[in-house]
């Protein structure tokens, strides 16, 4: 089964059906993800969230979608027309391509690729182009700023993301996602490579523009970032791409680190249960992302970049080297896991301590002052 055949082979009708299923599933999931996020964040903030539309507000997402579809599609006069109009698609298509390779259950994907993990990296890179097109094509300084921020951030965080995933790929000895998942029947890779998971998770937050790395779309700074000028159906494409990416990468992460469709520590299960397990694990990831979003404040741009280039990349490369040594000399993986756990806990502790630290800056331009409210 070749990649060439995957796109253009004889079984193209089969492909179309599978793709349709994914599209529908994605739409439903995205609609309910927006609802879920609002609910979860509201609970974190001791609110209720949407309650009016439908039972417990369950139809809120559908209503929003309808509203967006029928809304007027505006285009600024000084926008670059073609770039402006194609940007949402350029953003959406790569995310959709990622979804096509993911194994939802054993051999249950649109296409299972021998180079699946690598394919995900590759199309992930293309995502940036759409963001930049949107930022540039709007003819708006805020949008451009957001676009450039997004590009810088995504390029930077792609490196630790890829390197962290490579350590897992080295352990697995393959790039085939289905195979990687099936290798974790008795031991998910998160137990062996927790540090890689931490790096992956942080980088993932950045790639998805989620808080605390939502700098490109920071409403309070640049009023929505690169899609500030978009409205209606095109804006909804961005939202679709964003939430689809959230969902897709959750599944991707759960496949690689949490064992995907495997029941933890053992026994074979049927397809239905496999699907359920995948969804549960990805839901756990999504909830984790929401949790971080609801609790962490946004970083500054320079903090973001220096965290990536001065901390994450170094750690991920060291991890790569350590993993390489362990594999080359056939040292037991338990020790590797031990080292990894130590590293992960250390990293998290350092991050925690740093977040507790008070800002030392007094009155420098570009840094926030500690505002002292006096009665």
């Amino acid at each position: 089964m070749s990649f060439g055949d995957a796109f253009f082979g004889i079984s193209w009708l089969d492909i179309i059906i599978r793709t349709l299923i994914v599209v529908i599933a994605m739409t439903v999931v995205v609609i309910y993800l927006t609802y879920g996020e609002r609910k979860v964040v509201a609970r974190f903030q001791m609110r209720l969230g949407p309650t009016r539309t439908g039972p417990a507000g369950l139809l809120q997402g559908v209503a929003d979608a309808l509203k967006l579809v029928v809304k007027e599609d505006l285009r600024p006069r000084n926008a670059d027309r073609w770039v402006f109009e194609f940007a949402p698609y350029a953003t959406f298509v790569p995310v959709f391509l990622v979804l096509l390779t993911l194994p939802f259950a054993e051999n249950w994907g649109v296409r299972n690729l021998a180079l699946g993990m690598f394919f995900v990296f590759a199309v992930l890179g293309l995502n940036i182009v759409g963001v930049l097109m949107a930022g540039f094509g709007s003819g708006n300084k805020y949008a451009l700023l957001g676009g450039v921020r997004a590009a810088a951030q995504m390029i930077s965080y792609e490196i630790p993301l890829v390197v962290a995933l490579l350590t897992v790929a080295m352990l697995a000895g393959t790039l085939d996602l289905n195979l990687i998942a099936s290798l974790q029947g008795d031991r998910p890779f998160i137990l062996v490579q927790p540090l890689a998971f931490v790096i992956f998770f942080i980088a993932l937050l950045s790639e998805l523009h989620r808080a605390p790395f939502d700098i490109p779309v920071a409403e309070s700074e640049i009023v929505g970032g690169y899609f500030v000028e978009y409205s209606g159906i095109r804006w909804s494409m961005f939202q679709l791409a964003e939430y689809a990416a959230l969902w897709g990468f959750s599944i991707f992460g759960s496949v690689i680190f949490l064992g995907g469709w495997n029941f933890p520590f053992g026994s074979e299960v049927g397809v239905g249960l496999q699907l359920a397990l995948t969804l549960i694990k990805s839901t756990l990831m999504i909830l984790l992302i929401f949790w971080v979003r609801a609790t962490m404040p946004r970083l500054r741009m320079d903090q973001l970049m220096s965290f990536c280039w001065k901390v994450l990349i170094e750690i991920s490369f060291v991890l790569l080297l350590i993993t390489g040594f362990f594999l080359y000399y056939n040292w037991p993986q338990e020790i590797l896991a031990l080292v990894n756990w130590g590293g992960a806990l250390l990293l998290l502790t350092v991050i925690f301590i740093r977040t507790r630290r008070k800002s030392e800056a007094e009155d420098l331009v570009g840094t926030y002052k500690n505002i002292e409210v006096t009665e």
Binding site: S2, A114, L115, L126, L132, F136
Partner: protein, 167 residues
């Protein structure tokens, strides 16, 4: 049959977008055309059964290189006068002449040469393991040299691009 149709679609897309790179009046449009063209070339590699190179093409060209270009564009955009600079120089007719001559030469040579053994059944796949084997054994030294080149080039790029007051 469907393979050939798809091939021609890709070929035309590549040439069309490449022409877009060369003839477009906006730098950003050219950059976007370049991405499309390079992605098309990546697709073409799939026909040649080297999906690894295709993915490399997407990752490096489609992602990194093009984004670098776009970033550079945004930093170097001319806004002082507001008037867009003319992108095509006075040498364009000569360039066109030369390009056409070169094209005729290349096409002529390509068609006139009797290539040995047009193998009909291409190998189904060149796997990443094969490439890895060759890359780290026969081409180990070039690989290390290329790595050193990259390192040096990026250090140089950083030194060049650094703000002067930071030096």
């Amino acid at each position: 049959m469907i393979t050939e149709i798809l091939w021609w679609f890709f070929a035309i897309a590549i040439v069309g977008t490449a022409a877009g790179v060369v003839f477009s009046r906006s730098v950003v449009h050219a950059a976007i055309f370049l991405i499309l063209s390079l992605a098309g070339v990546g697709g073409l590699y799939i026909f040649l059964t080297v999906e690894f190179v295709a993915l490399v093409q997407f990752l490096i060209y489609g992602g990194a290189v093009t984004v670098l270009i776009l970033l550079a564009l945004m930093m170097t955009r001319l806004d002082a006068t507001g008037a867009p600079d003319k992108l095509t120089g006075p040498q364009a007719p000569f360039g066109a002449l030369v390009g056409i001559t070169l094209l005729l030469t290349l096409v002529g040579v390509s068609l006139a040469t009797a290539w040995p053994g047009d193998v009909d059944d291409l190998p189904t796949n060149i796997t990443i393991e094969q490439i890895g084997d060759v890359m780290f054994t026969s081409y180990g030294a070039p690989f290390i040299i290329a790595s050193a080149l990259l390192l040096v080039a990026f250090i140089g790029a950083i030194v060049f691009a650094k703000q002067e007051d930071e030096v």
